[in-house]
Structures are given as structure tokens and as C-alpha cells.
Symmetry: C2
Subunit: 303 residues, 2 copies
DNA sequence: GATAAGTATTAGATAGTCTTATAATCTGGC
DNA sequence: GCCAGATTATAAGACTATCTAATACTTATC
């Protein structure tokens, strides 16, 4: 049963004419005649009494006409409704970020994005790294922002920047006043590390190993904030992205010293599903993030 | 847009599976896949996210699903509704009759019909003869019952009976006590006639002319009841169907005397549209009327 | 990384619908 | 009662859309 046939029927009844109803639907009179016959056959009821001219709508035909009008109206409403849902969804960017990037960096860019595109909506959610990947893969987030974005054939990666790593310790630590910390300085240090499951932990471990450094790992945490708290209570030292300890450095809550290990840097990137076509809104958001990270000095100056 | 496609979509969503949805609609999985793609293309919206297994319904798809459910429900309701209307219409006989036949004769047969077919409905309407024809031609009545049913290619005629005509006068009239009235007796009589437009008037005029009788027509009415009232107040005499003055004759309100004009009789018949196929209910009603008039004595005995 | 289950794609067959041309039907006027 | 004009029905063929079957591809799970 074609909805177009029902529309044709309604127009035929409304105009009290096959020809005019057909014309309104841009089909021939013959098509209208055949369609009405098929409709009546389908329903097993005479809808129109054609022995009179102009034809007379039977009681069944009248009941059907009113039902059809409602039906077609519902159909138009349904189409309008999904268009509205689409507009809302298309105007939304769902962002999943790891805490250390999301809280400081992304939220600032979200503000810029929303002032540039006021009709857009952004949903920012901060999650553990694994959850960020999961959210993107499951389609719960349009983009994910994280360090060490994982290779995955279902995911596309947009590199954003490489974050310099620094030595971080309590202000009273013996290395706190150094201009630079050499790998050897870390030998035997009480160390607050990332959880073993995290990629950044493996990267740091590998770098230390390459410089024949052995640290004494006393604690493991899955996020930077907790590691910082541990260092503040003098539980140990650590190696963290410089950006993430800038505010603590300026308030002297923590001591931050450059590391002479040059090949240790935390890549930060953006991930999204490779298959899923990006909406214009999501594309614009990604472009904004890329632009912002290509001019790090100017962005830093603004902060 | 096929309603079947919408049903298929709903089943696919409900089962969270193309294959099972297809099976429920007795089509191949391929057909379901193609139909869903066409549906999405038509709407310009992704309804299902197939990159996950089982697929995930998008927000648009969810909105559409709910709209479709309502739509299909309305469709089923519409079909049920016209079926109900059809049942009601098919079980109804709309009868249009002239007053002189409807009030006495038809209403009695209607009672018999309704006791024979309790689920049937009869709508009896008494009208002027011309209006009876019009009602049947216009399809407002299924059958018409009248005297002198007119020849008309759109109408089928079922003869019911031929009614004997009698002389009717006031009980004090000079002819009231006669056993029989001869044509010549009517010469110069003050006559209450039918309206000139009625066929029965023409028939009576012709019969009188053939017997070289000239009456003095003083009044004309379009119905028998009024003519009877005129005779009661001694305004004149008339010639009326015997059946229609039986009660007045038995109460001596009117005098009824047989007429010796043998070729004057009022044919009563039933008309219905030739093209329109009769419903079983209408056919049964017609059959009952025919049977009742083929056995006039038994019917009279029952009254 | 292999296997199983589910979905997409392709090509050809089939069924429906459309158009044009023509026939049938109805209405109203003479 | 019949004819002209208008309207609807029918017939035949072209075209479109949908279906099936076979097969390729994707996803999930072990």
C-alpha cells in the first residue's frame, strides 16, 4: 500500500474528480482511475459511487477519507519530527576526553567553538583513557581527545601536539632547584607512576630503561591529578607533561624541572570513527582543535 | 512510500535484526537491507548504525520507529473502521415509499422482515412519488415502493401487485348505498382529484374519457389522505385504491362502492438502481415483499 | 587471527505502476 | 429519446521498483 495512493485518494475525494485529483499529484487520469480501483479491491469496499457524476463518496469512502487524512498528517509530522531530531543531533558534538586534557585544554576550546557557532551544542565528558576509546568506538562520542591515541582500523587519528615531559617533585626535594634534571639523577628515586596498563607508563618505563635508570615505584595511579596530590604530600617524584603542572609551578605548589631526556614526549591526538561520516559541526570542531594546536604560543598567551 | 516498508522497518527495529525482521514479513534478508537503505535515502537520515552488531538505532531512527508504530496502528484502525461501516451499511435497507403504500402496507412487512433478520436494519421514509424516484436514483434509498413505477433505464422495476380502484364518497351521498357504480353515474359529479402531475391522475382521466364521463373537478391533492379528508367533509367524490380506504369503510366514515370500470387498476411496484449490485440484505427484503404480494389473501388474513 | 553470524552488494527475474490511445459512461439540452 | 460534451474505464506497452539468489563483506567472539 502506497502512501502516495492514499494521498491521491484524498485529493480525488477533495476535488470530487479523478482528473483534478490526478493533476494535483502530477499523474495521468488513467493512473488515478487504476489506483482507486486497486485501493477498493485491496480494501474490499466501494469507496466511490461512480454511477453518478460527479461521483458520490460512499459512507465507507467517507470514513476512509477521514482516516487517510489523519494518516497522511501523521506521516508529515513524523518526517518533520525526524528532521528536527536530525538537526539537533547534527548540531551537537559529543566529546570524550581524558581528564588531563579535557579539564584544562579542551574546555577552553569548547568556549571558543561555542562563541564561533552559537547554534552548536557541545557535550564534553571526561573519562579514563580506555573509556574514551570505548565511547568513540561505541558511537557514544563523536570525537575523543587523549594521549597516545591507539592504532585501530576502526578509528581515525588526528595528531594535535606533542607535550614535553618534565620532572616534578616537592618544592623541598633535593632536585627542586636544579635548572635541568639528568636521567642519572633519578636513579633510586621514590617514584609515583602511572598505572601499569596505561601507554604513558610504558613510554616512561622504556625511556628510563634506555638511560639505565632504575626508580623505586611506590605508588601507581591512573590519572595525573592524583599523582600530583601524591607528590604534594612528598610521597615521591614523577615525570609528567609540563602543561599539566603549569599552574602548580607558578604557585610553587610543585617544583617542575626540565628533563634532559629529549625523546620522551606525550603525543596528544583526537580520534573519531573512520566509517562514520562526520557532520559539518563535528568537522568544524576538529578543525578548530587542529588550528589551536598549530599555534601553541598564541594559545598559551591567551590563557 | 510503502506501508509495508514501514512495517518492515518496525519489525527490524523490534527484533534488532534485518534477517528476523525480514522473516516476519516473509521476504528475504536482502529485500530488508535494500528497503532500509531506500527508506534512509528517502528520509535523508541514518536510522540504523550498522557499524555495530547488533546494529544500534540512531536517535532519528528511534523517533521514526515510534512515529511508524502510530502510523501502522492508525492504518489498522482505519481498515477496521471501514469494515465496520461496510457491515453496518450492508445490513441496512433504506426504503423510500409513497405515503399510501408505506404507512399501511410496507410498515407491516418491515416488521416481518426484522423479525426474520434481527441483525438487519430498515430505514423507512415516506415521500412524494417524485421524491421516491429521486431518492432511489440518487442512491439515498436502496429500494423505492410506489404506484405507477416509471420506466427509466437506470431503474429496475419489480411489480408487486395491481390494486383495484373503487368509488369513494360521503356516507350520505346519493351513490353511497349502491352495490356498484357505473361510469355514467359519475357524470357531472363534484370530484376530488389527484394533482395533475401524478400518473394516477392521468390514468383515471384516461379511463373516464374512454367511458365518455365528465366530472367536475373541484379540488386537487397530491396524496390520498387529504383526498379522503375532503370527501369526509362532503367536498366531493373520488376514485381511490380500495385498500387505502378499507378502515374508513369498516367504520362507515366513508362509503366505498365497487366501480364497474375493469381496466382501471393502480399498479404498485418496487424500484431499485439497475447498476448498483444489491446487497444480500436488500435482496432478501425485495424477496419478502414479492412473496407477501403473491399471497394477498393470507397476508390480509394476518393483518 | 580464525570462525560464525549478520549485513551489503550484484545481477537478473518479476510484478506494479505509469502513459497514451481509445472505449464506455454519464449529464444536460434540444 | 437522442446527441454533444465531459468524465471515467480499459487495453497495451514501456518503464520502474522490488524481490530473490548468490556472493562478498563486516563484525564479534573465541
Amino acid at each position: 500500500m502506497h502512501l502516495e495512493t492514499l494521498r491521491l485518494y484524498c485529493d480525488v475525494v477533495r476535488h470530487r474528480s479523478f482528473s483534478r485529483g490526478a493533476a494535483q499529484n502530477v499523474v495521468s487520469q488513467s493512473a488515478a482511475s487504476q489506483a482507486m480501483q486497486q485501493l477498493e479491491a485491496e480494501l474490499g469496499v466501494a469507496l466511490l459511487d461512480r454511477t453518478k457524476r460527479p461521483f458520490v463518496v460512499t459512507p465507507e469512502g467517507q470514513a476512509f477519507y477521514e482516516a487517510c487524512r489523519g494518516l497522511l498528517e501523521s506521516w508529515e509530522k513524523a518526517k518533520a519530527e525526524i528532521a528536527a531530531v536530525k538537526a539537533r543531533v547534527d548540531g551537537t558534538v559529543r566529546v570524550a576526553a581524558i581528564y588531563s586534557v579535557g579539564l584544562h585544554d579542551v574546555s577552553r576550546n569548547v568556549q571558543r567553538f561555542m562563541s564561533l557557532y552559537p547554534e552548536a551544542r557541545v557535550q564534553l565528558e571526561c573519562l579514563h583513557p580506555h573509556k574514551v576509546v570505548e565511547a568513540v568506538v561505541q558511537g557514544e562520542a563523536d570525537v575523543g581527545i587523549m594521549s597516545y591515541p591507539p592504532a585501530d582500523r576502526t578509528l581515525a587519528i588526528v595528531p594535535l601536539r606533542s607535550e614535553q615531559m618534565a620532572f616534578v617533585c616537592h618544592p623541598n626535594h633535593r632536585l627542586a632547584r636544579r635548572r635541568v634534571v639528568m636521567p642519572a639523577d633519578l636513579n633510586g628515586e621514590t617514584f609515583v607512576a602511572f598505572d601499569a596498563g596505561l601507554t604513558i607508563r610504558k613510554a616512561i618505563d622504556r625511556a628510563l630503561r634506555q638511560h639505565n635508570v632504575k626508580v623505586n615505584t611506590v605508588m601507581e595511579f591512573d590519572n595525573i591529578e592524583t599523582i600530583k596530590q601524591a607528590i604534594i604530600i612528598a610521597a615521591g617524584v614523577s615525570i609528567l607533561p609540563r602543561r599539566t603542572v603549569q599552574s602548580e609551578a607558578s604557585t610553587r605548589t610543585l617544583a617542575v624541572v626540565p628533563l634532559s631526556i629529549t625523546d620522551l614526549a606525550r603525543p596528544v591526538g583526537l580520534i573519531h570513527r573512520r566509517q562514520k561520516p562526520l557532520t559539518p559541526t563535528v568537522s568544524r570542531f576538529i578543525q578548530l582543535l587542529k588550528d589551536a594546536n598549530e599555534e601553541p604560543i598564541r594559545v598559551a598567551a591567551r590563557s
